[in-house]
């Protein structure tokens, strides 16, 4: 005593890489058109 340290096998790590492929669609074309329009309206 104390017992000596020894290596023990462990389960390998697996990551959920598919999670990163669950992606939102691009909403660019669905949003209000460019903010630049608002600024230029101020200066018209």
């Amino acid at each position: 005593f104390p017992p000596t340290f020894e290596a023990v096998p462990r389960n390998p790590i697996v990551l959920d890489l598919a999670y990163n492929c669950v992606e939102f669609p691009s909403l660019e074309s669905r949003m209000k058109k460019d903010k630049k329009g608002f600024i230029s309206r101020l200066w018209r």
Partner: protein, 173 residues
Amino acid sequence: MAPKPKDKPKPSPSPSQPPPPIEDLFTSLNKHIQRSEYKQAVKVADQVLGIAPGDEDAIRCKVVALIKGDSIEDALTTIQSARNLPTDFSFFKAYCLYRQNKLDEALDSLKSKERSTPTMLLESQILYRQGKMDACADIYQKLQKSNVESLEINAVASLVAGGRASEVQGTLD
């Protein structure tokens, strides 16, 4: 004579005001997505769907937000309710089933899809859980050139769990 704008205050919004324009809703939806506020994203997506039932972007956002917010069961219900739409939800459905450990059903849902990096990643993870390490390792082998970040972690796991630890070094080189 036209009244001065100053003299004409805008009427305060009545309770039965019209819904906000759909572009505004999408702007707000996008903001919540950027901030990872998935519960609010679902709410706004529902608002869009209240105005435009069947809007594919909104349903897709709702499904993804539910998955990212860990509401897997609700995501499946939403996918089920959208089955008449042309959008293909089979990858999302397969992912949800995988999360619920319904592995055979998950594989079934993937079958209809063309093979791509996402479907292969998911398939290999399902195979891993099913203990089919050789089939799993095969897929990682095929994906090696795909530049998926951290892929080697899962590839090594499939080799080690499949009793092929001696091949790990060769795979990493």
